[in-house]
Amino acid sequence: MITDSVWRRTTSQVVLYVILILLAVVFLTPVYMVLITSFKHPETINLATSWNLPETVYWQSYLEVLEEFGPRIRNSIVLVVVATLLSSMMGSLNGYVFAKWRVPGQRILFPIMLFGMFIPYQAILIPLFEFMNAIDLYGGLPGLILIHTVYGLPITTLIFRNFYVDIPNEMLEASAIDGAGFFRMYREIVFPLSIPGFVVVIIWQFTQIWNEFLFAVTLTPNVASQPITVGLAQLAGGEAVKWNLPMAGAVVAALPPLLVYIILGRYFIRGLLAGSVKG
């Protein structure tokens, strides 16, 4: 027997799922567009038929993209892994200091660090180049790694500091009584609890660094040290753009961060939940 409330609940469930599915379709429409265009032959790409499925699947674009990206994929991976590790380790230590240790001047130092997150990169491009040239790090991957590490410090510090503020002081005081110093406290108490924080930071930094273009194109002029964002721009370059190539390139370039999100997505939310959300 279907009571009124069961009926109402079922309807609201149905409505809920319908809305969700519609929204998912809306969100996925651009993906559909990118995918079908990437599989079309360049001559068949035009505005009027942009929604139609490709008549024949044209794999050539992906081959060309992989050829263009080839060496750059290695560069991107090295860049992202090293810079993310460095900036998250340093961020974790900084967050630990700001959250748990009353160091002199911290009320000024923390905002000073944070403010670095907000600078527009175009503003400092030329002084940055001149500096990198002066210290002989221009043109190679190490220089790019340094830059991404430094500019990642403010956000990683912020995330970790907010995260560590929630760790009860009593835990640290107890181990201080036990004779633990700065590093032992970090190693034994703080670091094991940091996993959700690391997840958030790693996801964020991975995406930011993997997708960054301006520094990459300016500071690594040689293919040997360029990340793939530059390769992506090369595909859409020149006077005549064959849209199948940039679309295929976009798919390939988006895969790694996408995989990271798919696999680690729930940890991302859990990490946000665990305290980095506030402030």
Binding site: P42, E43, N46, L47, L125, I126, F129, E130, N133, Y138, G139, V217, T218, P221, N222, V230, A233, Q234, L235, A236, G237, G238, E239, A240, V241, K242, L245
Partner: protein
């Protein structure tokens, strides 16, 4: 003992002389070529590099392209590098004021007059071209190709079905508009912002004529005068015949050409890289699948732009660069590059040497190149410096927002003053 020493010295000297002779012919080291050619334009540059490698097998050529629509990223990278003292050995730059007003006046480029004289290029390049390449008596770049800016493209089938003649003057074009519009076809298709600028320069050329156009850059044509107002007024009338109000800003120049090919638009004014697009990507035959004519009012005038390379003063490998430049200007080099790029050689002897390499359009363009009056393009860096080109966008925006030709002309005068591009700097 002394005899042995003398013999040794003579041998040493002889060896040095011989090896110096070898060093002359046998360049080694690196050569970094900086450009923004990629995609469809890549093969042309690669053909040149292959040819260079055949002649100089011991030089390692580094092809440092930075792409992104018509050099917009490349310029940023190049300027950052030059300011930082890390000049590439040679870089692609539009011949004319874009090079002169940016790099030559800044003292960054080496004078190539000696090279020109050695290679006999003073006769091989047209005098009008050499005029714009010269600054205070020196020549600072070698043009590798010539593109034409003032070409009007059409679909022969469309024109035939409309029963009109291809307009040769502005009046004819404006007179034909209503009939074309009635047939449901866009008379003139334009695309995003820079293509509107491109259209403007053809209209200006059509209204002012070659002398009037050149007069802008020498100061003889008053930028705020009645003629310029007339230019903008005609421009407004031409735009009224176009799709500017509908969907222009979202169209790339290729998409605009697509509309002509599809019969949705009658005419499009674009540089002759459009010919390369139509022949190579769309597989059409010049004259059959698409038609071409000089823009209305500019029959007999060739508005040119050119990609060129120069020698930065602090380039690391000067000898290699000079060898590169010698190849670029030579008949062989120009014939290796241009057929693939879809442009014509600047060297007037090149096409005659190998006419089969060039399709019907390019041959007719080359013939025009040798016979027409030559004027430099504004939008593509020949006629005015970068400051003026950038500020010109403001003038265009003022005109499009207000619709007032007078406001646009007085803005023109203001930017002439600000950039110093309209004086007699030649």
């Amino acid at each position: 003992m002394k005899k042995a020493l003398a013999l040794f010295l003579v041998l040493a000297l002889a060896l040095t002389a011989v090896s110096a002779g070898f060093a002359q012919d046998d360049l080694s080291g690196e050569l970094e070529i900086f450009s923004w050619w990629a995609g469809d334009e890549g093969p042309a540059l690669e053909a040149l590099i292959t040819l260079f490698n055949e002649q100089n097998p011991n030089v390692e050529v580094i092809n440092a392209t930075v792409t992104g629509g018509s050099g917009v990223n490349a310029r940023a990278v190049l300027k950052t590098r030059m300011l930082g003292g890390d000049a590439p050995d040679s870089f692609q730059v539009h011949a004319g004021e874009e090079l002169t007003g940016t790099w030559v006046v800044a003292g960054r480029m080496a004078d190539l007059t000696t090279l020109y004289q050695e290679q006999g290029w003073m006769e091989a390049f047209p005098a009008d071209l050499l005029d714009l390449l010269t600054y205070e008596g020196g020549i600072y770049s070698v043009p590798v190709n010539i593109h034409r800016s003032n070409v009007m493209w059409y679909n022969p089938a469309t024109v035939e079905s409309l029963g009109i003649a291809v307009p040769a003057t502005m009046d004819e074009f404006l007179a034909a508009c209503p009939a074309i519009q009635e047939a449901g076809i866009t008379p003139l298709v334009v695309g995003e912002a820079w293509t509107v600028n491109h259209l403007w320069e053809s209209v200006a050329l059509g209204v002012l004529g070659a002398e009037g156009w050149n007069g802008i850059w020498t100061g003889e044509t008053d930028p705020a005068g009645a003629e310029m107002v007339q230019v903008f007024e005609t421009f407004g009338q031409v735009l009224a015949c176009s799709n500017l109000a509908e969907d222009a800003a979202g169209l790339s120049w290729q998409q605009a050409i697509d509309k002509v090919v599809a019969g949705e638009a009658a005419f499009n004014i674009m540089g002759d890289w459009a010919a390369g697009y139509m022949t190579t990507t769309l597989g059409l035959e010049p004259g059959v699948g698409f038609g071409y004519a000089p823009t209305p009012g500019a029959v007999g005038t060739f508005m040119w732009l050119s990609d060129s390379f120069g020698l930065p003063v602090d380039a690391a490998n000067q000898a290699n660069t000079l060898a590169w430049l010698s190849l670029l200007g030579s008949v062989d080099g120009q014939n290796a590059f241009n057929p693939l790029k879809g442009s014509i050689p600047a060297n007037v002897n090149a096409v005659a040497a190998a006419p089969d390499l060039y399709n019907a359009y390019l041959q007719s363009a080359a013939a025009d190149w040798s016979s027409n009056a030559l004027v430099g393009s504004l939008v593509h860096g020949a006629a005015a410096n970068e400051r003026f080109m950038g500020d010109f966008n403001q003038v265009m925006e003022i005109y499009l927002s207000s619709g007032s030709a007078e406001a646009a002309a007085s803005a023109m005068a203001a930017i002439c003053l600000q950039s110093g591009a309209c004086g007699s700097s030649m």
